[in-house]
């Protein structure tokens, strides 16, 4: 008996920025292409399409992910946040506001990836994750100070050819500070609350 013809498409449901999208996709379609070509969510950028530049960074279940290296069919059922889902209506997220005020970009093409990555950095840092430049990596040491060196290291998966790194580091530091201040204002030192404020 001849084998059944291989199917090349599947209907999938993606959860993006709190919305549900059901669509048929070619199995070869990456999450990045599904966002850009199928769902008209073009804020996520294609810089290299091979996982080297970070322009396509989105948050998948809260974790930084390069969407060019993930197939759309593999993203089904995951909570995806793209740059379009970062602001609260017309109110920019503190990370976006800091990038805008401190000119943390020039051409703007790497910016959505930088912003999603910065959100991930703030979450990872708040959760106590060390980086390659963290001196004390013992779990009990807690989060290291978010120094410029820490920010540079943690943001190095996102290339910027305009050379806006100096301002990007300042913007991430400013956003971290404003998140800290917001956390202080809420009189809460609970780390989960801090994460809410940051993300």
């Amino acid at each position: 008996m001849a084998p059944a013809p291989l199917s090349t498409h599947s209907a999938i449901t993606l959860h993006i920025n709190g919305e549900k999208y059901t669509l048929p996709v070619d199995h070869r379609t990456t999450l990045l292409d599904a966002l850009r070509e199928r769902l008209d969510l073009t804020g996520t950028k294609k810089g290299c399409d091979q996982g080297q530049c970070g322009a396509c960074t989105v948050l998948v279940d809260g974790r930084r992910t390069v969407s060019c290296l993930q197939l759309a069919v593999a993203a089904e059922g995951r909570e995806i946040t793209t740059v379009e889902g970062v602001a609260e209506g017309d109110e920019l997220h503190p990370v976006q506001q800091a990038f805008l005020d401190l000119d943390g970009f020039q051409c703007g093409y790497c910016t959505p990836g930088q912003i999603c990555s910065a959100l991930g950095v703030l979450e990872e840092h708040a959760a106590g994750w060390p980086s390659a430049v963290t001196d004390d990596v013992r779990p009990e040491a807690g989060p290291p100070p978010l120094t410029p060196e820490e920010i540079r290291e943690r943001m190095s998966g996102n290339l910027c050819r305009c050379g806006a790194y100096v301002s990007i580091v300042r913007a991430v530091a400013a956003a971290a500070e404003s998140a800290d201040a917001a956390a202080q204002d809420s009189h809460s030192h609970d780390s989960h609350d801090t994460k809410e404020q940051v993300a």
């Binding site: 850009r36 290299c48 091979q50 000119d103 051409c107 050379g163 790194y165």
Partner: protein, 720 residues
């Protein structure tokens, strides 16, 4: 007719002060929220996707293309190639010179280099197009190729007008107390804008329309009109947001291929290049092999200045990396000789890349000055000050606002240059040897004719229209500020629309001439509008528009040496046991005329300096002589500075404005990269005592040099 609630009035003698005030980007919110749409992001009904197929051989002919198999694949609509493509005209002169023969896409079976376009596969989806393109069976007749570039290669020649000299260099060298004769190399470098090139072409009511990512929509429109023998009015090119350009986003083969396919299929066709294709067909900076000879008196005064700079180009087009231009304006000497030479190879055609000429040229010259300072026992800044010219050293023309000495002074003060121990290898901190270095920089401050129109709207706002491009420079914001001041209003009441060829001819975003050229047109149109509106009591519903072309104004500029200048200071840390070099500090103080927007200007200058770090330590495209193609044409194989490579960088400016300059704006786009790599290499010498004359200063080079320096009778090294 409506009455304007706030009828515009001529501004007072003082402006509203928008120019000179830091202002975030007009399109900034769109860029941080992801709503700014770049070239491949505008939706089109019935869009088809094109995928370029590039030659895998370095020289030869296309023997056959199996289009039948490709056309049988799902979704494939057409395969355009030399056997079926329409003829295009490549015998014309465009805005930036004679037609690039590379634009003669699919016009013959000849292959002059790896990456030459051989076909465009068009399909319903990008996945289908890609699969069919990768499956397309192209066979070649190969011929021997030669892609090896090195100094003094046989066949190297001096193009027309590439040599300038005064006095007798050989005689002055012979009479000099100290002579430096050194050779330097820089590698092939790539633009690597984050947004890959992309264009969508379609026919709409008899007009050819392109949504594109480019540095000049009129430039692209004009070239496409000439290529396809269309009336210019039948072509419209738009390029609203551009994800970086750096010289690479002119007219390219994918534009031509997209138009061919859109014409054949009569539906919109998008061609978006892959990163690998961007490396292959969008230009790059030629490698250089340079020789600098300096002859000086014991007090440092230069008797002879000679700079011979060799680059390479393709067999189809002579593009020269004009590295030897740099010294013609910077240093006085009794005798001067500066020559650009070129070698033709079976390689793609290079093009403009950030600070074309000046970036590699300044590396050689500013390194050689440092070597001379070392030999003479003179401070490197004092040596440069001693050779500061009063007029153009070769041209004899007066300078328009040259404040380079003040850049050294201010930079030295802020960097803490005074008291520096000039001896190398004297500072150590843990595993790091530390050193500091300095270099000068200069880049021409040109201007070109542009057309701007400014409309006073009935609601009291203004609309500016100009075919400018904002490739990340902040041009849209700067022009908004300039117009606001000239119109005596606030930036919030000014709408600047750019990057649409229907707005008329204008200069491109290039040569550090954008804001100066477009700004002048906006100023002139705003002034004319103000005069016309002053005679009216009401603004009619359709508004009042003034349109000015600056061709006459530009032509009336007095002939002078017009440049931006600067002084670059670097501190480098070198671990000679691992070969790692880290830049710890960079400071640039620039003489860049009137600064329109301090926020975005600083970003431009710091961005250029970041490129300088990258050029000094990282960037190097490697060509495999066996295949003639790149090794590792991606961001792993071609590393440019990442965040962790870049320290605190400070850029500042003097704010001096030449009172005789009608606009006062100079360029800031390119000057930041000029001299930076030399300042870093000089700092590495100061740290280690070893001269690095070949870029980038890779760990293996540092280690080998360290070994050589430790061995007896081996001095500084130069390798290729």
């Amino acid at each position: 007719m409506t009455t304007a609630p706030t009828a515009p009035t001529p501004p007072a003698a003082t402006t509203t002060g928008a120019v000179g005030t830091a202002r975030s980007r007009v399109e900034g919110v769109e860029k941080v929220t992801g709503s700014a749409r770049y070239a491949s992001e505008l939706p089109f009904t019935d869009l088809a996707h094109g995928w370029m197929v590039l030659s895998t051989v370095a020289r030869g002919r296309v023997h056959a293309i199996d289009t039948e198999s490709a056309l049988a694949m799902p979704g494939v609509l057409t395969v355009v190639h030399h056997g079926n493509a329409p003829r295009v005209n490549t015998d014309y002169v465009g805005q930036l010179g004679p037609a690039d023969p590379t634009l003669g896409v699919f016009q013959s079976d000849r292959i002059p280099h790896v990456g030459w376009p051989v076909a465009l596969v068009v399909a319903e989806t990008s996945e289908q197009a890609r699969e069919a393109a990768e499956a397309l069976d192209v066979t070649y007749e190969t011929q021997p190729h030669d892609t090896a570039f090195h100094a003094d290669r046989p066949g190297t020649y001096t193009p027309e007008n590439a040599e300038v000299s005064k006095g007798d260099v050989e005689a002055e060298l012979a009479a000099s107390a100290v002579v430096v004769d050194a050779r330097y190399t820089t590698p092939e470098q790539h633009h690597s804008a984050m947004e890959p090139h992309a264009a969508t072409a379609r026919w709409d009511a008899g007009r050819l329309e392109l949504v594109d990512s480019n540095q000049g929509s009129m430039w692209v429109a004009d070239e496409l009109a000439k290529l396809f023998s269309l009336d210019l009015s039948a072509v419209r090119v738009r390029s609203e947001h551009v994800g970086g350009a750096f010289g690479s986003k002119g007219v390219r083969p994918h534009h031509v291929a997209a138009v061919m396919a859109a014409t054949e299929l009569q539906r919109p066709v998008r061609v978006a290049l892959t990163r690998r294709q961007v490396f292959a067909i969008t230009g790059y900076r030629s490698p250089t092999a340079q020789r600098v000879r300096l002859g000086a008196e014991p007090d440092g005064r230069l008797r002879a200045f000679e700079h011979v700079a060799q680059c390479s180009t393709s067999t189809v087009r002579e593009f020269i990396e004009n590295s030897a231009l740099y010294g013609r304006v910077l240093y006085e000497a009794d005798a001067h000789r500066t020559v650009n030479t070129v070698t033709r190879l079976d390689i793609p055609t290079p093009t403009f890349l950030r600070a074309p000429g000046e970036a590699p040229g300044s590396f050689a010259v500013e390194s050689a000055l440092d070597e001379l300072a070392e030999r003479l026992g003179i401070d490197p800044i004092a040596l440069r000050v001693r050779n500061e010219p009063d007029v153009g050293p070769v041209s004899g023309l007066p300078f328009a606002g040259r404040n380079l000495l003040a850049c050294y002074e201010e930079g030295a003060r802020r960097f803490g240059w005074a008291g520096r121990d000039p001896r190398p290898r004297t500072r150590r901190e843990g595993r790091w040897l530390l050193g500091t270095g300095v270099a000068a920089c200069a880049f021409p401050s040109g201007v070109a004719p542009s057309t701007a129109s400014v409309t006073a709207e009935a609601d009291g706002t203004y609309t500016v229209r100009i075919t400018a491009a904002d490739v990340g420079t902040g041009a849209r914001t700067a022009l908004t500020q300039i117009a606001a001041d000239e119109l005596g209003t606030t930036p919030e009441r000014v709408r600047v629309r750019i990057a649409d060829s229907d707005f008329g001819p204008a200069w491109v975003s290039g040569g550090s001439m954008g804001t100066r050229s477009w700004g002048w047109a906006v100023i002139a149109a705003s002034r004319e509008l103000r005069e016309r509106v002053a005679l009216l009591t009401d603004i009619p519903a359709e508004g009042v528009t003034a349109r000015v072309n600056t061709a006459d104004l530009v032509a009336s500029l007095a002939q002078k040496e017009r440049y931006s200048y600067g002084a670059q200071f670097a501190e480098a840390a070198v671990d000679v046991t691992t070969g790692e070099v880290r830049v710890r500090r960079l400071l640039g103080v620039f003489d860049a005329g009137r600064i329109v927007n301090p926020l975005t200007t600083r970003s431009q200058l710091v961005g250029g300096m970041t490129w300088g770090i990258s050029m000094a330590l990282h960037e190097e495209a490697v060509r495999d002589q066996e295949t003639g193609g790149h090794v590792g044409a991606d961001f792993a194989g071609y590393h440019f500075a990442a965040n962790a490579d870049v320290p605190v960088i400070e850029a500042d400016w003097l704010g001096e404005v030449d009172p005789d300059d009608p606009i006062g704006i100079k360029g800031v786009g390119e000057i930041g990269i000029v001299g930076t790599a030399a300042a870093i290499a000089n700092a590495v010498w100061h740290a280690t005592g070893v001269r690095h004359r070949d870029l980038p200063i890779r760990p293996d080079r540092v280690l080998l040099a360290e070994g050589d320096a430790q061995a007896p009778d081996r001095g500084d090294r130069t390798d290729a």
